[in-house]
Symmetry: D2
């Protein structure tokens, strides 16, 4: 529920500091993802949080400038970049509905003839990457260029070691890609597609970088340089998909606790959007059993409680 | 995103009239549900819409005072009534996550040991009704009393003929109830539970009635008489479940087009909530292939576009 | 196994005695079904086995004259009785293919629009019972009359207490019946159908009774009194369905170990057919995790090994 | 069917000729598989049939010496070759139960943690090939050597063009292999495994070749040169799996109509075993909707009817 308690700029910095202090005294941080070494090595007590206002002012606390593995968070940007290029035609190849748990996703793919339910399950992100690859010849290069421009961080980059680790554990994604290819819903050769996909997952960025890179979604589609990436309607589409599908099998709970469009990654990061107002990025590597950062969700929960900046 | 274009009361009446006029010139109304005679008989060109403000002021247009079959819309009120009584314990018996398509709902029930994914799929509504029945001894009586009090309409009632028709086509719901009973997630005898459930579905009310009856969700849990039904947090829960699960297998699309917590019924009605601001109810019997009112979704889409009262 | 080691009558009695002795020294009998008291109370060390030749001569060992709860074994006779009446038309309402595990049976019912995969899963037996009920007005009465005639045991009967227990645990079967009814594949009211079904399951008979009652399948359709119940082709159908679907989710293993058409019940009984030669019935209440009698399968395995009377 | 109408050798040649003549006058041959050019090009009116006795005598009719694409028929030989090497340990990696339709096979793979239901669905054959590849370093080479030896045909070989076509349409098999690899049930790199698998599918042989190559299964495991490939028990295992799982989603119907262990391929061939007596191979490229040769099944049906050589 966006009743603004102040119509001018909020004092975000004290809010962030209060949250960081609370988090320090909160026991139970979950466990970092352990399927690849680079993620498993992160300290679960790390915690950073940043807020970016529409004009690019950034507030931060804790490890907010520390780079981390963004993982599935990049799915939001890849979606925006492809949607900007092909518009609604994209939605013939990937749906916009919540998908339920992973178990069902495979059944659904078969039941729905190779069309994934939404762009944030792995199957859907593979389709979006495939389409962006076809349109640009270098999907991950486009992604990096966009994120560098929006964040103002010229050295933001992929992590080749992480990408290689992902690839080494990539059988399930390979299965999904081949399965969709059997329905004609993948254009590129599967190995080339997987390379692009795993590179994107390996992107390393900080809370500050990601809060800034997300502001186009709070500005209804306008990039940092004032040009338009998405129409207002497309920006609304992306936000709606984030709210209903952005946190794996916990979208319902995230909607209730945080009440903002958000997207998490197994690296422990979460981005969130307060449309028309600001963006957030929080990072803490410890995950709950559904793959979302424990301290991240808790911190966003506190943020919307303290500021009233929730949509419900 | 609730950027209010006016901080004082909006002039809702002209907005409603503009929408009604647009709808008149919009071809394609879908087809009324035809599985029971009472629904099939409704004229697809009927159209009514009402807005209720927090103080109980109601605006309306078209057939906004015409009673119609509320069907699944009552699931919202049954949920609120049970949640008010048992609190978070309810969530051990029904989830809060989107469920994907009907096909999956049965698999999910088995996969998740008889716990339905959310209170708005039929399986979930059966569980909620079962629990309210156990707590009150007359779930549908409680529902009627609540709706009469909130709407101020003392003759609002069930339609015995509709309830009998539902019961005659009730094999799938009976299957769901028995299936959950086999997992121990149903307390009452299945035939008695189904009686309660089909009575609730048969409730007849107008747009005006339902807009008023929904205002407790815009008032963060406070009833028309100023007493509290739900805590602020519980009201937020119900709104979040409505946004992510309220329109069958089209929650993602509804979130994108309308951007409000909403709940539809196969009678052609839809209720929606602008938290902290107002509630809406629209009715037009023609449905799309997913069971949502064609003109109803279109009218809500126009409403949020014209007023900016969307959450994204 | 088509090469008979002896063309004249085998000496079955010594074979049975040798098997019974071996079973006495075999540890591990599994556990009786415990979902209803009457089954749970049986001693897992009980063991009986009977062989009936085509002319009605019966050999037996151990508890071969002790009545036990036949449970799913009656599905074979109900199938034969309905097939005799309606012929191939039955196969439009129930399939003849193996069904995989219970988990899939519900998905399959939905995927295949309410047509169960075969007559020996519960859904299929419900359909067959429903059809026999429609044709005779008293499916379980027909079943009892047939079994009394074939076994020559005029007091063979249902067990009302067992039927009541089954009914009290009958939610899953009720769910299946209502679910198929929603597809129009059930004619009778579900409660009446379930009554018939649970009565059939409660039939009590001994190894001797069942071996005799099964001989029509070894005689290619000819009953004990020389009249024909099934055509040769129909008898072949029933035997083939028994081999591929007769032992729940262990049909493959049963085919490999025993190599005969067979049908088990959770009461611990198993019937088997050596087409053109003889029938068998074995009983021991301890079950394996798939619901088949541990000593029963072992004894049949030994029988086919010792006599060469396997089909592979 | 265990009563032999003749204890000495049957006159198979006249039986085959009668069947061939009947087939000529039977309309409706189905349609050849059309997913690869080499299969689509075959004349649906081709028909050949061969019977091989235990001593290697072969009878034939029609196009019984014409080479055709064996496709899934080779799964039987790959299974036997691996089973001979690793014995029962194989059954920890692939089951022996019928799998139901293709739709369920993917669900089952997930539900059963990457263990396919049986060696004759594609997932299961991929596992068996993977294991044979690990044990021999050249699974398809082993297969060819075995088939050449058993058939006495030294030029029997793979078809590189067919293998390439299969590979070009191999996304679904690639998906299965990667999916099982994600559960740790595939040892070799997926691309190398698929090469082996598609080569095996491309094997070209005639009815005469295949009838002879199958005789070890009628001889309870003894090869043409008198050495033992499989134990008697293992040969029984393979026959049982053929009967319950050998004809895709039509195993139940095949069991009823033909009543013999059999394995079909989408090239239009079917092999069948009369344990202890003889083997058969029939070929006609037109398929029914389940992928089995229409004339092939009909011819085997006639054969067992005319000779009594069925197991039921």
């Amino acid at each position: 529920m966006v009743i603004m308690t102040t119509t001018s700029s909020l004092a975000f910095q004290p809010v962030l500091e209060r949250i960081a202090e609370e988090m320090e005294h909160t026991p139970g941080r979950g466990r970092p993802a352990d399927y690849i070494p680079a993620l498993a090595a992160r300290d679960p007590h790390s915690f950073g949080m940043a807020v970016a206002e529409l004009d690019g002012t950034v507030y931060g606390v804790g490890d907010w400038r520390e780079p981390f593995s963004t993982q599935s968070i990049t799915k939001v940007f890849t979606l925006a970049l492809d949607l900007a290029r092909e518009g609604d035609a994209l939605w013939e190849h990937v749906g916009r509905e919540p998908s339920g748990n992973p178990f069902n996703s495979l059944v659904q793919l078969e039941y729905e003839h190779g069309i994934p339910r939404n762009p944030f399950i792995n199957a859907g992100a593979l389709v979006v990457t495939d389409r962006l690859q076809t349109r640009t010849g270098d999907a991950s290069g486009e992604l990096r260029a966009f994120l560098r421009a929006e964040s103002g961080n010229p050295v933001l980059d992929f992590d080749a070691e992480v990408a290689a680790s992902e690839s080494a554990h990539g059988d399930r994604n390979a299965a999904l890609a081949h399965f969709m290819a059997s329905y004609g819903n993948i254009d590129n050769p599967v190995p080339a597609l997987l390379d692009q996909y795993f590179r994107q997952c390996s992107l390393t960025a900080s809370c500050a970088d990601l809060a800034l890179a997300t502001t186009f979604l709070a500005r209804h589609g306008i990039r940092a340089d004032g040009t338009r990436l998405l129409t207002r309607s497309q920006a609304k589409q992306v936000n709606a998909v984030m709210l209903t599908c952005g946190t794996y099998d916990a979208a319902g709970e995230f909607a209730y606790r945080v009440g903002l469009p958000g997207k998490s990654g197994v690296g422990g990061g979460i981005i969130a959007v307060v449309p028309g107002r600001c963006t957030l990025c929080v990072w803490s590597p410890g995950l709950d059993e559904r793959g979302n950062s424990v301290a991240g969700v808790a911190a966003l929960d506190r943020f919307t409680t303290l500021t009233g900046l929730s949509v419900f």
